[in-house]
């Protein structure tokens, strides 16, 4: 990988064959009936989506990114480690980013084991992230949302202990007791794979990343919030004696490249609409199970007309979030501008948008591989040379 610019390709692997009456349901998460899941169609989608991750590697992306959601048509990755295991033998160069399983929804020792397995299997190409999980996950899993943050911290503590101390060790926590914490295998990378916290920029998650010196993979944050987040994290991490490097602050960008701006919009907008209106459609109660948010955060979110879940206006989305839809030149320009402003060189590209068909995803990946990525690498290299002279 070129050390100065990094491109990830993130896939959500949605189940896109929603029934005709799906708008009758307020949410495509949590209680959206699973009778609408057709495993034959699901099989075809898995085949296709896995191939798209492989293509991303072939065209020059530095990493592929998968994550975890439950009870939803939004994602078919209830167990992202299975997806990672399936692509490791097919992906030769790219890193495998599992960003990730909420560590409090799994036994921490088991997650330490699974991630170590993937790291060993991929010869040290794994990166992991520790999300708290959306509110929706807590309606689907038997974990208390009111104590989720404490459990999340304890689970991370156990995983890091398992990876940094020779076993067996003991752990006597509020949620977990280990008499023999001694997981086999251990990670390939030393002391452990690069780690990120995942979040939407809440103070709690920023504090945690700062304390641990982890990267921060922000999801669906507005442009303004991303800027504040990165500044805060750098400052707070420094107070803990950690220096946050640019590549630890991936910016998540929904991107689509075509021959002209008009064509790009024409090809992408309907899938953006599907993504926000249908795939992300859920209820305020599912988004915020009791105790999951602070009251201040709940009021903040309730006061904003929710731009993210179940409503779509391309101009609003474009204005608020990192969306780059246009020619390769335009997308390069936007990415460079955002990278500069946020102090990052790491772009996490959502390039398979909503119910986008395979040909568009491949077209998008190819534009990235042939134009966007080499151009940005070339310019970064030129800048490096100028700086060196």
């Amino acid at each position: 990988m070129d050390g100065t610019v990094r491109f990830d390709f993130m896939h959500f692997m949605p189940y896109v064959h929603l029934p005709e009456n799906h708008k009758d349901y307020k949410s495509t998460w949590v209680d959206f009936p699973n009778k609408y899941y057709d495993p034959k169609k699901g099989h075809a989608l898995y085949q296709r989506y896995l191939s798209e991750l492989v293509i991303a590697d072939q065209v020059g992306f530095d990493a592929v990114v998968v994550n975890e959601h439950h009870n939803t048509a939004y994602s078919m990755m209830a167990a992202p480690n299975l997806i990672a295991a399936a692509v490791i033998p097919q992906i030769k160069n790219a890193k495998i980013c599992v960003w990730g399983t909420p560590p409090n929804l799994e036994y921490p020792n088991r997650l330490a084991e699974e991630y170590a397995m993937l790291d060993v299997m991929s010869e040290g190409r794994l990166e992991v992230a520790f999300p708290l999980g959306t509110g929706m996950e807590y309606w689907a899993n038997p974990i208390n949302p009111a104590t989720a943050r404490d459990r999340h911290r304890e689970a991370i503590d156990i995983i890091l202990q398992a990876w940094t101390q020779d076993g067996p060790t003991t752990y006597y926590g509020d949620f977990y007791t280990y008499r023999y914490l001694n997981p086999w295998p251990r990670p390939y990378q030393k002391p452990y794979p690069p780690c990120y916290i995942v979040g939407t920029g809440s103070q709690e998650t920023i504090d945690l990343a700062a304390k641990l010196g982890f990267g921060y993979s922000s999801v669906f944050v507005t442009k303004q919030r991303a800027l504040e987040l990165n500044q805060n994290l750098r400052r707070l991490a420094a107070e803990h004696g950690h220096h946050i490097r640019p590549e630890q602050l991936p910016v998540q960008v929904i991107a689509y490249v075509a021959e002209t701006k008009e064509k790009a919009e024409q090809e992408a907008v309907e899938h953006l609409r599907y993504f926000f209106e249908d795939a992300l459609r859920t209820t305020p109660t599912f988004l915020a199970p009791p105790g999951y948010l602070s009251v201040a955060e709940l009021k903040k979110r309730a006061a904003l007309a929710d731009k993210l879940h179940g409503a779509f206006n391309f101009d609003n989305i474009n204005e608020s979030f990192f969306v780059a839809v246009g020619t390769a030149d335009q997308v390069v320009g936007q990415l460079e501008e955002w990278g500069e402003r946020l102090g990052t060189n790491h772009f996490n590209i959502l390039g398979a948008i909503g119910n986008m068909p395979h040909w568009k995803v491949v077209k998008n990946l190819n534009f990235f591989g042939q134009d966007v990525i080499p151009r940005m690498r070339g310019r970064a290299a030129a800048q490096r040379r100028v700086a060196a002279e």
Partner: protein
């Protein structure tokens, strides 16, 4: 909101219990009557005024609900029992009549199971806490918050004055969300008490079970289940009342008073 939820006859006292600020409403004189409120107390305590004629009525806000401070470390009904042992010591209450409604009924039953010698008479009004066949009907967490008020009563006019005019009132929404977090700590894993039936034979004090026949949250059929576990419990069911039977039916308030007198 047009009505006064907490009438001026009630005086507010604040006590620091194990480091936690706890507000207690008191009115009247006579033998002590402690009322344990339910999971929400925004509808107030107007129903309790008639009791103040014969009793010293004491209504503490449970930690994490209403006007009490939060204590995230309280994650179990027995933390609340311990809290009330401290509070009753502070108030100098040795023996008392105990009336518990809904969540407060579950708490009252747990208090009385462990400390029955202090409870002269016990009244459980639509108590939560048992795993009935009717589950999951009574699981508050299956209801979107905006649907809960209508589930509480037979006659919506009874609680309407205590609700904000704007259904999206942020302060009201935030206050209920905060209380939801308290409840989640208590019963997210199990919205019932697996162990309580095992110990209910210890409820040897005279006990009254009160229910509204239109209770949509905890069906009145649960009265018989409670009765089957308690050595001597009477049941009184009030027609045309929902879960908030005390707010809806003065007859229910009077029945409690007669039982305790």
């Amino acid at each position: 909101m047009t009505a006064t939820a907490f009438p001026p006859q009630f005086k507010r006292e604040t006590h620091t219990i194990n480091g936690l600020n706890t507000t207690v409403l008191t009115a009247g004189s006579g033998p002590p009557l402690v009322f344990f409120h339910g999971a929400g107390i925004w509808h107030g305590v107007n129903f309790a005024l008639p009791w103040t004629e014969k009793f010293r009525v004491i209504i503490p806000f449970h930690p994490g609900l209403g006007e009490a401070d939060d204590d995230p470390a309280m994650t179990d009904i027995h933390d609340y029992v311990m809290h009330y042992l401290d509070l009753f010591d502070t108030l100098g209450l040795e023996k008392l009549n105990l009336v518990g409604f809904s969540l407060g009924g579950w708490l009252a039953a747990n208090f009385a199971v462990g400390h029955g010698h202090r409870v002269e008479r016990l009244v459980l009004v639509g108590p939560a806490g048992l795993r009935g066949k009717e589950r999951p009907k009574g699981d508050l967490f299956l209801l979107p918050p905006e649907k809960i008020p209508a589930m509480l009563v037979s006659n919506f006019d009874v609680i309407k004055p205590f609700l904000p005019d704007n259904p999206n009132d942020l302060d009201f929404m935030g206050a209920r969300y905060r209380e939801g977090g308290t409840l989640a700590r208590l019963w997210w894993e199990h919205p019932y008490d697996k162990k309580l039936p095992r110990y209910m034979h210890r409820l040897t004090m005279p006990t009254l079970l009160v229910w509204g026949d239109e209770d949509k949250l905890i069906p009145p059929a649960q009265a018989q289940i409670w009765q089957s576990f308690i050595p001597k419990a009477d049941i009184q069911i009030f027609k045309g009342a929902g879960h908030l039977v005390l707010d809806e039916k003065r007859e229910a308030v009077d029945a409690v008073q007669r039982f305790l007198s």
